[in-house]
Amino acid sequence: MPKDGGIGASVVRREDTRFLKGKGRYTDDMNRPGQTYAYILRSSLAHATLNNIDTAAASAAPGVIRVFTGADITAAELGGVPCGWQITDKHGEPMKEPAHPILAVGKVRHVGDPIAVVVAETYDEARDAAELIDIDMTDLAAVVDMRTAETSGNQVHEEAPDNVCYDWELGDKEGTDAAFANAHHVTTLEFINNRLVANPMEPRCAIGEYDENDDNYTLYTTSQNPHVIRLLMGAFVLSIPEHKLRVYAPDVGGGFGSKIYHYAEEAFVTWASKEIRRPIKWTADRSEAFISDAHGRDHVTKAELALDAEGKFLGLRADTYANMGAYLSTFAPCVPTWLHATLLAGQYTTPMVHARVRAMFTNTVPVDAYRGAGRPEATYLLERIINKAAQEMGLDQAEIRRRNFIRTFPYDTPVALQYDTGDYDATLNAVMETADYAGFEARRAESASRGKLRGIGLSCYIEACGIAPSALVGALGARAGLYEAATIRVNPTGSVSVMTGAHSHGQGHETTFAQVVSDALGIPADQIDIIHGDTDKIPFGMGTYGSRSLAVGGSAIVKAVDKVVAKGKKIAAHLLEAAESDIIFEDGQYKVAGTDKAKAFAEVSLAAYVPHNYPIDEIEPGLEETAFYDPKNFTYPAGSYLCEVEVDPETGKVEIVAMTASDDFGNIVNPMIVEGQVHGGLAQGIGQALLENCAYDEHGQLVSGSFMDYAMPLAVDLPNFVVETVEGTPCTHNPLGVKGCGEAGAIGSPPALINAVVDAIKGYGIDHIDMPATPLNVWTAIQNASAKQAAE
């Protein structure tokens, strides 16, 4: 195949055409015959007992079909929203796993907790009627600060008297303590990893439809993984067997993790559509999204790094509080544990690592994975404390990292992972050259001449993605396998339909996957269709998150293609009257090795469906193959990021002057799309470090509940990015040699940016600032440090 279409080519995206014409088909764009509308009345209090809900007036309001409360859910004996991962704590006990009812029963536990649903002929009528619902609640003291949750005396759940979901640890504690005892220097850093709201631009939406002819349900939903929703909702909430339940996630307007989870609204509209025998649509507005989408991050950590006199890392200790919010969202328990503590070796040979994580219940919105999920938190921890250590020991930030790089592979970390391959010097060298690290001091001086404080910050990240080997995650508490499935349906005339369990909500799978198949089958990409998102069409799938789509989903496609080709060879051998072992497949042709005899892919495909001359005793007609691919290991993308900032010391405002990323993603299918993924990750990482902060007050009220107070990065806030990928180290264990690129930017950039800010203001004696580095926070840090310096 020419490289203008296959692997390695920056093919423009086929899906763009419909999006650019306004013909994308998002869930809220769909309307079902007889559709009704749901408005969800949510708690305005963070923590309260529900004494009585009077729905009489609302039920009688114009257009109202029915009003539902927790009592209806209880009467119907529906299950609660399930959690997909069970953590075993350090005493060998399972985590506390309180019930999460679809609509609140007895108590509300966060602002936004759903109390009642009005279903009406129109959205406005539903919302108008909701105003008539009379709720008698008794306000309770809210648990908000996870650091004091254990001793606050207030309980989010009866099952967790001290609000601890689990107290978990990983690594050799005694060995780590011994490493600290022998250290030349110990650096300590206490910091916050700020709570974020994913805010995909498309708010969540769900339409439930019951078909009484077949006793079938359909859920149209904004999901990253429709099969996971079918499994969780069907099996654990509504007791609907898979063959009676279709989940369809059409075009989805971004997810970033927040659309992985099974949400109560999905279960509600599906179930209630049978109750009222009409389809029900629910669409969140942005204000509702802020209090009902799972949030991300929200750790408070104390970390310590032990070093020898040369700056070699001897040991790392981390003690983290992780906020779970009021209920356990689908993957919440694994984020601060197996997706976080396992990454604490980073790119370094630190021999001893010990991590403790206490997951806390609070009266806040549930917290779960957000782009990077645990790995940004780990990278931030490491890359910040390394810079602090370098600052304390007078070492250059690049040099201290070089002294500690892992250089032999495979490498077994002290925190349970085995890195298969990598070349950390390559990305560090590349980024330092591209960003002109050597010339920085001259630029700093130039900025100073304009009254600006310039700083440069480095971050070297590694992530474990391509999630995940099923047996491994099963042993760690996952309640599902994390393989991927694909079907290659070769149609009689040789065109191909690819059914993938991965789901595209911005990643461009329709283009990338077609490139992979085009390359493998030697047929033009326009003869290949990629079908995703519909459980009725796709054999199975675990969806898209954890930068897994190409590494796992793409591998399943490759495996299914291999099966197609293997069968095609049998057919071709028959048609060409040759031995099967003599058939080779290349450039879309089945050839008899060493001869000019050949059959085109389409000819063989036709023979499979019109089997007049066919090895019918040996193989079946037809040409359709399915493969499930379970990865042998995680993949380990890695890279180095350099950020350069200018701080205005008068206002505290930080301007990003340059952001340079150098990544090793292994093999790359579509460089244009990979670069775009890095751009997006960088923007979200910069957002976390500079702008975004999901803040609660002491009563559990969300202070930053809209874009008026939650600062989203705009075009004016961001620089042009310099993004390069080094000729990488291909993944050793998947057939494409790919690693995953979706989360890298969000993982590598926050510490680079904060390191740069600290470098800029270190003259005041500042060695840390928490995210986000807003003008207020930077100015306050400078004020406090100046006052301290003046006092000394």
């Binding site: 999006f19 306004g22 631009m201 498309e202 971004g254 942005r286 911005g506 997006g680 075009a715 990015f721």
Partner: protein, 162 residues
């Protein structure tokens, strides 16, 4: 309820709207033009940007009845007559200026007005001009490139026509 008539993408449309019906809901619900999206409720995200009487507006912050008699352009009217992508749309595709596609219609409509007002904007002017549109996917880098490219293409076409 009142009858509202407007010319949308060159065709006259009528429908029913309450006083509180927003233009975006009228376009999506009554006219079935679902390319215009709603991404926030504070007039900030710009997923709903359309042109009313030649000016870009946030259709979530204008009432449908207030547009009775108006000329409205939406993303569905931006392609060429033969169905191919217009210059700006093609530039977004060429430069990978979109990912999930949800903000894209509003982004294109804002960029379209930006180029109408300023045919050769600087990078800074483009970023300022897109201040009313939030994209969560792209980091804006490729959107800026797309707008620059479209400006150059349009300038080239204008020059060729002279």
């Amino acid at each position: 309820m009142a009858k509202v008539t407007m010319t949308v993408n060159g065709k006259e449309h009528s429908g029913e709207a309450e006083g509180r019906t927003l233009l975006v809901d009228f376009i999506r619900g009554e006219l079935g033009l679902t390319g215009t999206h709603v991404g926030c409720d504070t007039s900030q995200c710009g997923a709903c940007v359309v042109h009313v009487n030649g000016e870009s507006v946030k259709s979530c912050s204008v009432f449908a009845q207030a547009c009775d008699g108006a000329t409205v352009a939406t993303i569905e009217g931006m392609q060429n007559d033969d169905g191919t992508l217009g210059v700006l749309q093609a530039a977004f595709q060429e430069h990978h200026g979109l990912q999930c596609g949800f903000c894209t219609p509003g982004m294109v409509m804002s960029a379209s007005e930006l180029l109408k007002v300023n045919a050769s904007p600087t990078e800074e002017e483009i970023r300022e001009g897109l201040k009313g549109n939030i994209c969560r996917c792209t980091g804006y880098h490729n959107i800026v490139k797309a707008v620059q490219s479209a400006a150059a293409t349009m300038a080239g076409a204008a020059q060729a026509a002279e």
